[in-house]
């Protein structure tokens, strides 16, 4: 993941934080540790609770006397917008799944393809990769598992069987309620460096999607802000 920008603009604010657990890669979200893991620790794939920010380098954690204390540099501004490459699964670098409708939709609303998968994409986004509606995107308003995706606002041209579409469970608008929960969460890949686009909408760590960069199968990004940042919400007593 990378530091894209800050919502309020200006310079980033970086702090060197003490590590509470081992970390493998730079560019991962750091959260607060507790107990014997006091310090900052890598997030989990499904939770960014008590987030401190984005790690900008690697640290080596050690609990051995004589070893150097593990440190990691973190951008701690709560309005940091983090960019993550979309991957179609828990494994990093998996290309997004292409949809090709098996029956043409003259009204431009339905993509019928078993590759839509079982994860609920209602509230997410679908965009044209090639064909009649290349470069256009629409919010997903209905998803039938492994069968079809439906959009309420039609694509301007018919969806042909030769068209290719990509889809993701995120959206930049929504209330958080079921069917409008695209902006609510981001789940990371196994190594915490990319965003898993194969999971159901509103699944994953606490995030607020700010922007979507919708390009190809291996170069589309989701940009989000951490929703449960230590400086961002009502301070909670320990």
């Amino acid at each position: 993941m990378y530091a894209a920008y800050h919502l309020a603009g200006g310079a980033s604010l970086k702090m060197k934080m003490k590590l509470g657990a081992a970390m493998a890669d730079p560019g991962i979200i750091m959260i607060g540790g507790a107990g014997t893991s006091l310090g900052v620790i890598p997030c989990t794939t499904t939770s960014f609770a008590n987030a401190y920010g984005l790690a900008l380098d690697e640290g080596v954690y050690s609990a051995t006397q004589g070893d150097a204390e593990g440190l990691v540099t973190v951008d701690v501004r709560p309005d940091l917008v983090i960019g993550a490459l979309m991957t179609a699964g828990a494994t990093e670098g998996t290309a997004l799944t292409i949809l090709q409708t098996t029956s043409a939709s003259a009204g431009g609303t339905t993509i019928t393809d078993a590759d839509t998968g079982s994860a609920d994409m209602d509230g997410g986004i679908v965009w044209g990769l090639s064909g009649n509606n290349v470069g256009l995107s629409r919010g997903i308003t209905a998803h039938t598992g492994s069968t079809s995706i439906v959009v309420t606002v039609p694509f301007p041209r018919a969806i042909a069987t030769t068209d290719e579409y990509l889809f993701a469970p995120w959206n930049i608008a929504g209330t958080g309620a079921a069917g409008a929960d695209g902006p609510a969460a981001v789940q990371t890949s196994t190594l915490f460096t990319q965003a898993d686009a194969s999971i159901a909408a509103a699944t994953g760590g606490e995030a607020s999607v700010v922007e979507l960069i919708l390009k190809g199968r291996s170069d589309s990004f989701v940009l989000f802000k951490l929703r449960d940042h230590v400086h961002d919400s009502a301070a909670l007593a320990s």
Binding site: G10, S12, K14, L56, D57, E58, V230
Partner: protein
């Protein structure tokens, strides 16, 4: 009246280790920087950070003493949507003098080359890559170009 009893009232917040806010816990985990008792000179501390390929934050006064190219470092870039800074400004505690960079004319941070593409998206870099990709041709296109010349 009954047995003598003593009521101990212990305030929950900011006393006896109870009720620390998340922000207080945050500041307790910030590393204090290099030691200033004489055992850790500035150059030695920076050298340690460079060996570990850590992000280095320097204020405007200390910045001039650091040569990023020599250590394979680059300026960290994060876009400023207000346009007030050029995207390379960073604030924090200077790794050399330990002052907050906001009080020292602003700061700059540097990341190691190996880390740069993992945490930054520099538009100049993206432009260079796009131009290189546009210039690159496939074997078929090269053959067609050669055929047209003759």
């Amino acid at each position: 009246m009954g047995a003598y009893s003593r009521l101990n009232i212990v305030p929950k917040y900011k006393k006896l280790g109870e009720g620390f806010t998340r922000e207080e816990i945050f500041w307790s985990q910030v590393h204090p920087g290099r030691r200033t008792d004489g055992s850790q000179p500035r150059a030695g501390w920076l050298d340690d950070l460079v060996q570990l390929k850590k992000c280095i934050i320097l204020c405007s006064y200390c910045r001039v003493n650091f040569n990023p190219r020599k250590h394979h470092y680059r300026k960290f870039y994060c876009a400023d949507i207000t346009g007030i800074t050029d995207g390379t400004a960073t604030n924090g505690r200077c790794d050399s003098c330990k002052e907050m960079t906001v009080n020292c004319g602003g700061g700059t941070s540097f990341v190691h080359e190996e880390t740069y593409n993992l945490v930054c998206r520099d538009p100049m870099d993206a432009r260079r890559r796009a131009k290189a990709q546009a210039r690159a041709v496939s074997a078929w296109q090269m053959i067609q170009k050669t055929r047209r010349k003759h």
